[in-house]
Symmetry: C2
Subunit: 253 residues, 2 copies
């Protein structure tokens, strides 16, 4: 397909790379950040602009990957009659695009995406179109960039997916970050923990995490918990997080 990418941030960059890698042609990059747009256009051997007025009207699909606030501003003046237009914002309704085209929808990538990491992860897509033409185009595009089958998901499901993603992505990464800072202060090599982290993930593929809980909290090993809290006295923030999550495990086990 011929695709116009609107936006030049993390999602625009990584989706554009996935589209390119899948053999699609990015015919234009439009972004208010001219420098970032130029850089992406160079990467994909295409043209760029920071003026929406010069938008290429001959593409098959238009992907708008900008912040929620920018999205609301952009759609005011954007008219792409007859074209398939989708935004990538998980928590914004597809209806924000109602006046842009007759074929509009959402193309939501459920992945932690950063353009500075060149390795391309698999990006499962949840899509929602206002009609068959849009659904068919977005589904086909999604299938071309992910090994996972794309799934139709309305606003409410996307919000729930986002909540789950925050828990298993952002929150766990925060715990890794706290542990790394602790290790650094205590002179321990954080990378020694990688096999344990990998094993925890590996099990998710075959076992329910509820069935594989281990450690002092689920064993109710008060002596070890107290020893750990004592040892964390110079790390008050981590000590508090340790206590709260230990209580959470004990309340839900």
């Amino acid at each position: 397909m011929d695709i116009v990418i609107i936006g030049s941030g993390n999602v625009a960059s990584v989706l554009g790379r996935k589209f390119s890698a899948a053999g699609h042609k990015i015919v234009q990059v439009i972004s208010r950040n001219a420098a970032a747009a130029t850089e992406l256009a160079y990467e994909w051997d295409t043209e760029s602009s920071n003026y929406f007025s010069v938008i290429n009207k001959n593409a098959d699909v238009y992907i708008i990957a900008v912040s929620d606030n920018a999205l609301k501003e952009i759609v005011h003046d954007l008219k792409l009659p007859g074209k398939v237009v989708a935004h990538t914002a998980g928590s914004v309704s597809k209806e924000v695009l109602r006046k842009v085209s007759d074929h509009y929808g959402v193309f939501y990538p459920l992945q932690s995406i950063r353009k500075d990491i060149k390795r391309l992860p698999d990006v499962p897509i949840f899509f929602e179109g206002n009609d068959d033409i849009t659904n068919s185009a977005l589904k086909k595009l999604a299938q071309s960039i992910s090994v996972k089958q794309p799934v139709f998901a309305g606003s409410e499901d996307r919000m729930k997916l986002h909540i789950a993603a925050v828990i298993v992505g952002n929150f766990t990464n925060h715990l890794y970050s706290l542990a790394e800072q602790y290790c650094k202060k205590e002179g321990i090599d954080f990378h020694r923990l990688l096999p344990l982290i990998e094993e925890t993930i590996e099990r998710l593929k075959t076992n329910s995490p509820s069935d594989t809980l281990t450690g002092p909290a689920v064993r109710n090993d008060q002596q070890t918990i107290q020893n750990h809290l004592d040892l964390l006295k110079d790390h008050p923030h981590l000590q508090k997080v340790y206590q709260l999550l230990t209580e959470s495990i004990q309340q839900t086990k």
Copy 2:
């Protein structure tokens, strides 16, 4: 090496399997749980007993993998003069074995270990012996079962490693468990989140987790945070955890 395994729980089972796979000979399994000991002995084509009085005195190394409390009881009557004896309890001093042998120490596996999962993960070992003979034997044994170089670690370092392991292993697994329960109740397939989880881990190998935080908390996107908290009103426990970890991210970013 010829090895006697004392214990028949998760650590005894998985270390025994790793020793077997590395070409060592398990010459005996001793455990108060006769049924579990018999099962392991059958698996390793060796003998078992629930009487410590019949312990084989001709092995090279004795690995005591029992609970902290059982360890304190067992060592009273155990005499293995001249033999290398080590326990696997991260939070117990090696000195608990002082009267068992002249060559004693700790062989601490930093891994989440469950015998019901047959796949054998890599098990990085932290060891500590009271003399060169013990250190050399434990180090050699550790090298034979892990691709990671074994590291010498005294009591205090082991305790710190355990704290870090609880954070990156038990606590993250708890979050996966909470997310899975949420998905189940909301009719979402938890496995859809696996690519995101895998990407979060993949980055740890090359980037500091502090540098790759994403999501509404670190962006201080109050609107999304409030939407999520509202949507979690029927999940009060998860709502509380969401709020606490969001605050934790904002306090430490």
